[in-house]
Subunit: 82 residues, 2 copies
């Protein structure tokens, strides 16, 4: 397992409720891919969403997001953290 | 106070020790700007570093990072989080 930060662009105007629903959609199926989404942060003005997860691979993160209807634009492994 | 995610590019090859030192340098002066850096995550391969903070403004976040010698390339307010 490794830690990943993924980034979604083009989510301008996202509301707290929409972020909560998108995150809940990921949580409902993440177990099937061995992924654990920990947090998500959104900037409605620029339309950027960041998600932090623990996952077996970048591809597993993307499979969950794609199945939930919101594929990520970038997925970075973040092996270092403080 | 608001929450911010800032992003640094061009940090390829950053080590755990360098991330820890950079974060410690921010923590030493953050109080002077009313900023509280909570976490930082790094991807040494792509050279990307993400920092999560609580701060009075985007400018305050950048002042701390600039004074510490590592200005951010992007700073996004992230008023929404789950």
């Amino acid at each position: 397992m490794a830690k990943f930060m993924d980034v979604h662009h083009g989510m301008s105007g996202i509301t707290a409720e929409q972020l909560k629903e998108a995150h809940a959609a990921d949580l409902r199926i993440e177990g099937e891919e061995g992924v654990s989404f920990e947090h998500a942060w959104a900037d409605p003005d620029s339309g950027t969403v960041y998600c932090l997860s623990e996952a077996p691979s970048k591809e597993a993160v993307q499979r969950v997001h794609t199945r939930s209807g919101h594929p990520a634009d970038e997925i970075h492994p973040v092996p270092l953290s403080v």
